[in-house]
Subunit: 204 residues, 2 copies
């Protein structure tokens, strides 16, 4: 049986680490930044620029060139985001076609719905996420807890908006996932091992 595992995650919940460890443990491919790298190869955009578009930051617009086709026009922001999303969707589908894999974020659960992926959502309470971000240096060191909380909520809000825009579904709503896992009281390494066993049992 094919194993396609998609991971949606709260910022700071450890979802990315779960994904990376899970792929390693199951011996399957892991796609996260790899998607951005592949995007950069196929377009005239830098990885940094693509990441900014993904995160919907306000950025100066650049014309996008995909493959050998040159787009002579400047697009309004949404158009460009849509082009990036469309190209990224192709890459994700190609990757999932190639081999078993874990894909983090990027609406992969929705994009690959015909492949019947195991759709995970990893979340945690705010206290845990603040602690984790601080411990890992994921945030500016001078941020107060209040500032860090605002930052975390801001990232989540963008993820929710992005997911809603392209899937017309609610990000983090259990009905869009097979398994939602709260990492607040779990050790990520132990959790990953337990999850790997769960997946081996249910998808063998």
């Amino acid at each position: 049986m094919r194993r396609i595992i998609t991971i949606g995650r709260n910022f700071g919940s450890g979802g990315r680490e779960v994904g990376r460890r899970l792929a390693e443990r199951l011996g399957i491919a892991y796609y996260d930044h790899e998607i951005v790298t592949e995007m950069a190869k196929r377009t005239n955009l830098t990885e940094e620029y693509i990441r900014q578009i993904e995160e919907s930051r306000t950025i100066p617009l650049l014309p996008i060139t995909i493959g050998m086709t040159f787009s002579p026009q400047f697009y309004p922001m949404l158009d460009q985001s849509l082009q990036v999303f469309t190209e990224q969707s192709k890459i994700i589908k190609e990757m999932a076609e190639k081999s078993d894999c874990v894909i983090v974020g990027r609406c992969a659960d929705y994009l690959l719905r015909e492949k019947n992926p195991l759709r995970l959502f990893i979340y945690a309470d705010m206290e845990y996420r603040i602690k984790r971000c601080r411990a890992r240096g994921d945030a500016d060191e001078d941020l107060s807890d209040k500032g860090l909380r605002a930052r975390i909520q801001g990232v989540d809000k963008e993820r929710a908006r992005y997911y809603q825009l392209y899937t017309n579904q609610t990000w983090g709503d259990p009905e869009n996932y097979d398994l939602c896992i709260n990492t607040s009281r779990m050790d990520i390494k132990v959790l990953t091992e337990a999850l790997a066993m769960f997946i081996e049992k249910t998808t063998h």
Copy 2:
């Protein structure tokens, strides 16, 4: 390590079956109707009457007698529900004190929060739940799909209201659980085995 597992569940999702099988597989106690039976022993109320109060149906009010204390007054509905809830809470805490166990429903996740239980929420999409209810004869056979959907939504609404009333938390909101499991695309037996392995790994 003590294993206290609480299960909240959508009506028709198979949560109760998961609980029963899980307890059997892990070799620990299972409490569901057992709580009602114990309640009936300790009060002058019948099991049927207690179940009606639990489900917040409109029922004629009876005076409740707990243990040897006779309550001479008739209570308004909420007071009686509260008394039943209070007595039930005691029973649940006693049961969790006695041995490892799986407890279905009844705000056990909240009541036993100091024991750090593993809090599961079992859910499924409406299509699955309608199919399951029909296959198991959980609903009146003459109900249309539309009628069955209304019945299912009605039970869930009552569970949500009950949970909110006694915990001041939102029923089914992932933040109140450690693991939320969508049974729509899973085989309950396989799921239970996978879940048992997950629990053995994370709580050993």
